[in-house]
């Protein structure tokens, strides 16, 4: 690695070193970021979080770049546009606990969860109401509900007047009247038209709008996303506008103080906030272009760490084939998976039960959290944490890198987090329910009474209790998004006509062939047992994949009874599912809980490498997609692929 990476440190070398990782935040991500900052052409690429589009929508409309925070528990009414909330979305355990609170009628009013999606997922099954709609029309329906809120004067006028710009028409410098959000919505999203496009009856749209307005605080989430499938930007903007109309933006949806401890690693500058990284990050779309066309950078070497593009990116095997052409590929992995198969060098990484590590709060967490990962079993011989690999390389490569990092191993950096947390003068060590409630109360009344006085005490308590958190739910309410002179912009300057683009989101991929040739729309979905594709390594999880259908170990395709009839298919038979980009073999499962235009296939199986439990089992729906990104955003596009199904 030293021999291959040393030349890339020279300022006149235009070849790039790229790290592709599933770590978006936390110590290891920062270490990678700062390591790459020493290279003139170093690029960090993340597997995007499923909340990435929603977060970007909030940033676009609120003009800020902070960390997305959602106060789900306080919501009394939730319009969920296709997010698989109970299947690994956001902070999974936090979301489940919020769901439990919504259903806790002992505290008064039960909250309502409405799941709006083409497929009756587990989230849809557990929701109070499932509203099926045509695939790809979630954003249109959101603006249809906005129409009803505006037309019936149900929105929070005071909030909008005080905190938002671009709602009413205005006159530009040339004296021309520019239509505001209200005019655009009232003109283009009449209920009859929206009902025609989405397949949701106008009376249902009107009822949802009235319920949404009458049960505050109300929250709108979406559009369609899961643990690593971001939705669309314009669809998410349409959904977030509902939060602004209800006055929930800045309270239920806001930005929290970062969960990261901002520990300074060596002489590298501290990151101030997410979105203003010490080193700018590249996107999967850029990486795909780079390996295909040598533009915007030419990839000389690639490090894969906790990322498996064959499962986590549309295009699946096309990604691994393309990345295999990179001159020098290194894989840090705990299993001999697809990344190891294409690597020139495999560095066995410890399992999380074998190593010291740190886990920051997942995206959308309402409170800052620093969880401590501690070794529970002795590591297998020959494994080394990717952080230690980088620290050793920094010393050996010399130059700027040697100055950048202290003489320490990764476990020492994890332990040093306690010092950085102490400096923040806030938060508490994890505690039981009663103590946590007490800490929340203290926080609300302006007190901070930590159980530790020094970094050493904090470290010992974190080891005993598992981590640190800032219990103040008010961190969402205090969000800077709408404070001071900053205002919510319905029509941000960079995207003044985005509502009209929402209409085009509903149209499906133009490169997917005609609807006559490929009459169905593919809905790849994630299952909780295979969270992020990683769970397939655990056989007990593969066994329990689709208990709602009695399925496991293999890939099935869910299809509506009418559609099955139309194609002469019967339940449990094998079939070929084809797109213009590939085909996979699937077991047909007929389900009533599905829009007839949709065919739904779980992601996570169809692995070509791995243990005997997963290798060669099932099929990978990512192979039916193209690796190209959505035109208007840099993250992978899972939605909208046209397919056909034929008996095998």
């Amino acid at each position: 690695m030293v021999a291959r990476w040393s030349p890339l440190l020279k300022s006149d070398d235009r070849r790039a070193l790229v790290f592709l990782t599933g770590r978006r935040d936390g110590l290891l991500a920062r270490l990678m970021e700062q390591f790459l900052s020493a290279f003139p052409n170093g690029h960090l690429v993340n597997v995007p979080s499923g909340l990435r589009a929603y977060e970007e929508a909030v940033h676009q409309l609120q003009g800020t770049r902070g960390e997305l925070a959602l106060d789900l528990e306080s919501a009394r009414y939730v319009l969920n546009f296709g997010c698989n909330l109970l299947e690994g979305w956001g902070a999974p355990v936090g979301v489940m606990r919020a769901f439990s609170r919504w259903r806790d009628s002992s505290e008064g009013l039960r909250s309502k969860l409405v799941h709006i999606a083409p497929r009756l997922s587990v989230t849809g099954a557990k929701a109070d109401e499932w509203v099926p709609l045509r695939p790809g029309t979630e954003g249109i329906l959101a603006l249809g509900i906005a129409y009803a809120l505006i037309a019936e004067n149900l929105y929070d006028r005071e909030f909008v007047e005080q905190n938002a710009l671009g709602f009413d028409d205005w006159t530009d410098s040339s004296g021309k009247t520019v239509p505001g959000f209200r005019t655009q919505i009232l003109r283009h999203f009449r209920l009859g038209e929206v009902a025609g496009q989405t397949g949701v009856p106008a009376e249902t749209i009107l009822r949802l709008a009235r319920e949404f307005a009458a049960n505050r605080p109300a929250l709108a989430l979406g559009d369609s996303s899961s643990s690593f499938q971001p939705g669309t930007l314009t669809g998410s903007m349409a959904v977030h506008c509902l939060n602004v109309l209800m006055g929930s933006a800045g309270t239920l949806v806001g930005e929290s103080p970062s969960s990261e401890a901002y520990q300074q690693i060596g002489s590298a500058p501290r990151r101030k906030e997410r979105g203003a990284e010490a080193h700018p990050r590249s996107s999967p779309g850029d990486l795909w272009q780079a390996v295909q066309e040598g533009h915007p950078y030419r990839v000389e070497s690639l490090l894969l760490c906790e990322a498996n593009p064959s499962v986590q990116f549309p295009g699946g095997s096309q990604w691994t084939a393309a990345l295999a052409r990179v001159p020098f590929v290194v894989a840090c992995t705990s299993f001999f998976d697809e990344t190891a198969a294409i690597a020139d060098l495999v560095l066995p990484a410890p399992h999380f039960l074998e190593a010291w590590d740190e886990a920051p709060a997942p995206p959308g967490s309402p409170v800052p959290v620093e969880s401590l990962v501690q070794p529970a079993v002795a590591p297998q011989e020959g494994v080394r944490h990717p952080g230690d690999v980088l620290l050793t390389l920094a010393k050996t490569l010399g130059g700027n890198l040697q100055d950048l990092f202290p003489d320490a191993d990764f476990a020492a950096l994890v332990a040093a987090q306690s010092k950085a947390l102490l400096e923040q003068k806030r938060g508490y060590v994890f505690a039981g329910t009663l103590e946590s409630a007490w800490y929340r109360l203290l926080q609300h009344t302006g007190w901070w009474a930590p159980t530790y006085a020094s970094a050493e005490e904090l470290w010992e308590q974190m080891r005993a209790q598992g981590g640190w958190w800032d219990p103040s739910p008010a961190s969402v309410a205090r969000a800077p998004g709408l404070s001071g002179s900053q205002k919510f912009q319905f029509l941000p300057p960079g995207m003044p006509d985005w509502p009209s683009q929402v209409r085009s989101v509903g149209s499906l991929r133009e490169d997917s062939g005609s609807s006559a040739q490929y009459p169905l729309v593919l809905e790849p979905f994630e299952l909780l047992p295979l969270l992020g594709g990683a769970g397939a390594e655990a056989p007990s999880l593969s066994q329990s994949l689709g208990q709602y259908l009695g399925e496991g170990w293999q890939t099935w395709a869910e299809i509506h009874p009418e559609t099955a009839n139309r194609f002469g298919l019967h339940d449990q038979q094998w079939a070929w599912l084809e797109s213009p980009h590939g085909r996979i073999r699937v077991k047909v499962r007929i389900r009533a809980g599905l829009h007839p235009e949709v065919i739904a296939v779980p992601i996570g199986l169809g692995r070509t490498h791995g243990t005997e439990w997963i290798k060669g089992r099932g099929a990978n729906p990512a192979d039916l997609l193209t690796p190209a990104s959505e035109t208007s955003s840099p993250w992978p596009r899972w939605w909208g692929e046209r397919v056909r199904i034929l008996a095998a």
């Binding site: 109970l86 355990v93 489940m96 606990r97 769901f99 439990s100 259903r103 806790d104 009628s105 002992s106 008064g108 009013l109 039960r110 909250s111 309502k112 009756l120 587990v122 849809g124 099954a125 557990k126 109070d128 109401e129 499932w130 509203v131 099926p132 319920e211 009458a214 049960n215 909780l528 047992p529 056989p539 007990s540 999880l541 066994q543 329990s544 208990q547 709602y548 259908l549 009695g550 496991g552 170990w553 293999q554 009874p561 389900r591 009533a592 809980g593 599905l594 089992r617």
Partner: protein
């Protein structure tokens, strides 16, 4: 003497299957191979039962976690020819593996289909055997097994209470499924204690028993999902 029982609140259950996995790890239940799964021979002491209903926009899917319901009138014990299954004074329907002759009358008699027959020798690949729970015996090929309400945990809790010179308190003894539930949808305790939370929940208007008309009187009860009314409870 306590009479142990459980309430599962379906409004709070997210069908996440954490209970299924916790039970599997706690009770040394081997993973079935894909071939065994295809033959319907996978063993789970608690499973998620899907109940689909309706069509198109009215389609619904109800998901029920179903362990052994530990009936007060269990049909399974009446058909066992060798007394390999019986009911303890505390109401737990137990299975005595050493006595079981594998006739499977009990699996047929159980209306909830929660009893599982071991069609093959249990197998754990190296190093998985290191994670086996030493408090739970491994069942051999040819016997029937099922949920024991983590009876070994009761023994440990009882020993602990005796050492401290007291009786078992609420919360001392909790099965693995209940302990692991992230939404606290499962509540366990003494059904004969009028003050216990589980007893109070059984008095809810939402409480029901599975196939109540059979007269098996299960000690695992459910709270129905209920409906959103928009009004204060």
């Amino acid at each position: 003497m306590a009479r142990w029982g459980m309430v599962i609140d379906l409004a709070k259950c997210t069908a996440c299957q954490t209970c299924v996995l916790a039970c599997q790890a706690e009770n040394n239940i081997p993973v079935a191979t894909p071939g065994q799964s295809d033959q319907g021979r996978a063993i789970q002491w608690i499973r998620i039962l899907p109940l689909p209903e309706g069509e198109n926009a009215h389609a619904r899917l109800r998901l029920l976690p179903v362990p052994c319901l530990h009936c007060d009138e269990p049909p399974c014990i009446k058909v066992c020819p060798v007394d390999a299954t019986n009911i303890t004074p505390e109401g737990t329907v137990r299975q005595i593996f050493a006595r079981c002759i594998g006739c499977r009358y009990c699996t047929t008699a159980c209306p909830y289909t929660v009893r599982k027959f071991n069609w093959s020798e249990p197998r754990w690949e190296e190093p998985w055997e290191e994670m086996l729970n030493p408090d739970v015996s491994i069942r051999p090929k040819g016997v029937v097994e099922k949920c024991t309400l983590c009876h070994h945990r009761l023994q440990l809790a009882r020993e602990q209470a005796q050492a401290e010179g007291r009786t078992i308190r609420e919360g001392d003894y909790v099965p693995a499924c209940v302990e692991s539930c992230p939404t606290e949808a499962m509540v366990f305790g003494d059904l004969d204690d009028p003050e216990s939370r589980v007893t109070q929940l059984t008095r809810s208007a939402r409480a029901f028993r599975l196939l109540e008309e059979l007269g098996t009187r299960p000690k695992v009860l459910y709270l129905s999902e209920g409906e959103w009314s928009g009004k204060r409870a």
